[in-house]
């Protein structure tokens, strides 16, 4: 009796982890993806727009608000540069650098993970050591130290973030390779004399790649946040070239005079990061499930 009462209590009072229904989740995810696509299209469109000019100063038309002057749809900054153009140009830089960082992470993580999982033994141990060291190195501090030596640059940021954030790729690639390496479809070509390189390329990689794309998509948001933060600190791309983080830094100085200058680039970051987060929610539930049965 007590037991049933207790169970009933558990059932009603403690909320079960209620997952969003599949349809709701898909809808949210689609909305997120749509927002990101729209922002990217908007950035491209602004670059093609005849009034596109992120650098010319025009003090006569400084500090215009949004939607006042049709020549400057989103207004101008304190020295009269067109804000729409600057935010779009900053978006292009920020997104391209993000893509470069994610790509480096993708390649480094996948290769190391495959090697560790497929060969095991000392290869696994060495790569585990490399992972531990990279985890212990705070990327921001490393970038600070290297910027103090070489001076800040986009290339330096891509390399530092690219070579310090590949662990989630490697972990999953290793686990998959490990679980596949003794399967029949891997053993069979080996007995026929296929080289390890060929087996990895034609039999293991096709199973790993889709998962790596999912990891890539889920990591975009955090890479943008990190990178924008470093640009904000002045450790990334240097002015006058605009980036979203750099534009916020620039706008913060004048936020009393023209708050739009700081709000617009911040809003852009928020839209893209929020969009990718919601978009990737569709995959995170799947990727944490046990490995799908492979035909």
């Amino acid at each position: 009796m007590t037991d049933t009462v207790a169970m009933a209590q558990v059932g009603t009072a403690a909320p079960r982890r209620r997952r969003l229904s599949a349809r709701q989740g898909r809808w949210l995810s689609t909305c997120g993806g749509l927002i990101v696509v729209l922002v990217i299209l908007a950035i491209i469109a602004v670059h093609l727009w005849p009034g596109f000019d992120a650098f010319t100063q025009d003090l006569a038309h400084a500090r215009l608000g949004p939607f006042v002057d049709p020549k400057h749809p989103l207004g101008t900054d304190v020295v009269g540069r067109d804000l729409l153009s600057r935010v779009a140009a900053g978006g292009q830089t920020t997104l391209l650098i993000t893509a470069a960082i994610v790509l480096v992470n993708f390649v480094v993580g996948t290769v190391l993970g495959l090697l560790a999982g497929f060969f095991g033994g000392w290869a696994d141990n060495v790569i585990a050591l490399v992972t531990d060291v990279s985890l212990a190195l705070p990327a921001v501090l490393l970038l600070i130290a290297l910027s103090a030596i070489f001076g800040p640059s986009a290339l330096l940021m891509i390399l530092v973030l690219g070579f310090t954030h590949w662990m989630s790729f490697a972990r999953l690639a290793r686990a998959t390779a490990l679980s596949l390496r003794s399967r029949d479809f891997v053993m069979a070509p080996r007995m026929l004399g296929a080289s390890s390189a060929r087996i990895i390329r034609t039999h293991i990689l096709p199973h790993v790649l889709p998962q790596m794309f999912i990891v890539a998509v889920t990591s975009i948001g955090s890479v943008i946040l990190l990178q924008a933060g470093l640009d904000y600190l002045g450790l990334g791309i240097q002015p006058p070239d605009p980036t979203w983080g750099g534009l916020v830094l620039e706008g913060q100085k004048y936020m009393r005079l023209s708050p739009w200058q700081v709000i617009l680039p911040g809003l852009a970051i928020f839209l893209v990061v929020g969009g990718t987060t919601f978009f990737s929610q569709r995959f995170t539930a799947e990727s944490t499930q046990p490995l799908r049965k492979v035909r």
Partner: protein, 305 residues
């Protein structure tokens, strides 16, 4: 006991590696005399000063002297402010950073525990949805922009709080709010899922069978178990915060270590950068050791052997 010793030895090795990397980076940054002397200095004067500072000696000798110096707390002299020791510039700013970090961390964590326990005691879906959604929104906003928004609203717009620098207690509100909300969001999510995992555990059923009320079960039985996984994340975060509230410090012109580091980078003052990095690494390593030891103390299932 041997676990404690092993863990501490491991930490010492990590420190040694960090110290060595800092030395190598320091030598890569070049000889400092050109930075210390005024513009008009001749090549001979520059070379002389480099010699006097020991930068022309064999590299191993320099390394030995550097290690010996560190053991005596000597991190060299700032290249830009020749009167001041590099470590002095950093340590002078350290308290502002630690206060900000500890305060924000504690507020974020405590509020998260209260919120997660409340969700589970009331069983309210609305409450949970509120936390989930506000969390998703907050984590899509970068810290620096969140800070700027707070300044725009509460300092520029409403004029309730000071916007920049440290001018007494009210200055803490906005930077602490920026960091604490980010921490809160993270811990609420982790605690909520950890608590949910406990609901079906046998010990929970036993507790109900003993006649404990639902609130008591959540607070005294489930919470301690759910808290363990949070501890690891919280420890890493605390270490990260103590060493690096850099971005938030920059937003609010906080007189902390992060701002000192960034200034040193822009001035190419590598002695200060090096001292700052070593202090951060030391904090990081010590906090991690403490958390690991604490973990095995709290959870007897983690063997000390």
């Amino acid at each position: 006991m041997s676990y404690v010793i092993r863990r501490i030895l491991q930490a010492l090795v990590t420190l040694f590696v960090a110290v060595t990397i800092a030395f190598v980076l320091g030598r890569m940054s070049g000889k400092p005399a050109a930075l210390i002397l005024t513009e008009g200095a001749t090549a001979q004067q520059i070379d002389e000063l480099n010699g006097k500072l020991g930068f022309n000696d064999p590299i191993l000798g320099q390394y030995g002297r550097y290690l010996a110096g560190l053991l005596h707390g000597d991190f060299g002299v700032s290249y830009r402010n020749p009167g001041q020791s590099a470590i002095g510039i950093i340590l002078e700013r350290l308290p502002a950073t630690t206060t900000l970090a500890l305060l924000s961390f504690a507020i974020g964590l405590v509020l998260a525990v209260v919120a997660a326990v409340l969700v589970h005691i009331t069983g309210s879906h609305t409450l949970r949805a509120l936390f989930v959604w506000s969390g998703a929104l907050r984590s899509s906003v970068p810290d620096f922009f969140f800070g700027v928004l707070l300044v725009l609203i509460f300092a520029v717009g409403l004029g309730w709080l000071p916007s920049l620098g440290y001018t007494g207690l009210p200055s803490f509100v906005l930077p602490v709010a920026t960091i604490a909300t980010a921490q809160f969001v993270l811990y609420v999510r982790l605690l909520d899922s950890a608590l949910s995992e406990q609901t079906t555990a046998e010990y929970v059923r036993t507790a109900y069978a003993r006649g404990k009320s639902h609130a008591a079960v959540v607070a005294t039985e489930m919470l301690p178990n759910a808290f363990l996984p949070i501890l690891t994340v919280a420890g890493l975060n605390l270490a990260g915060l103590l060493g690096g509230t850099i971005i938030v410090e920059q937003v609010f012109s906080w007189p902390g270590m992060g701002v000192a580091l960034i200034n040193a980078v822009s001035q190419r003052d590598f002695a200060v950068v090096q001292a700052g990095l070593l202090v951060v690494v030391l904090i990081f390593v010590v906090v991690n050791v403490v958390v690991d030891l604490l973990y095995s103390l709290i959870d007897p299932r983690v063997k000390l052997a």
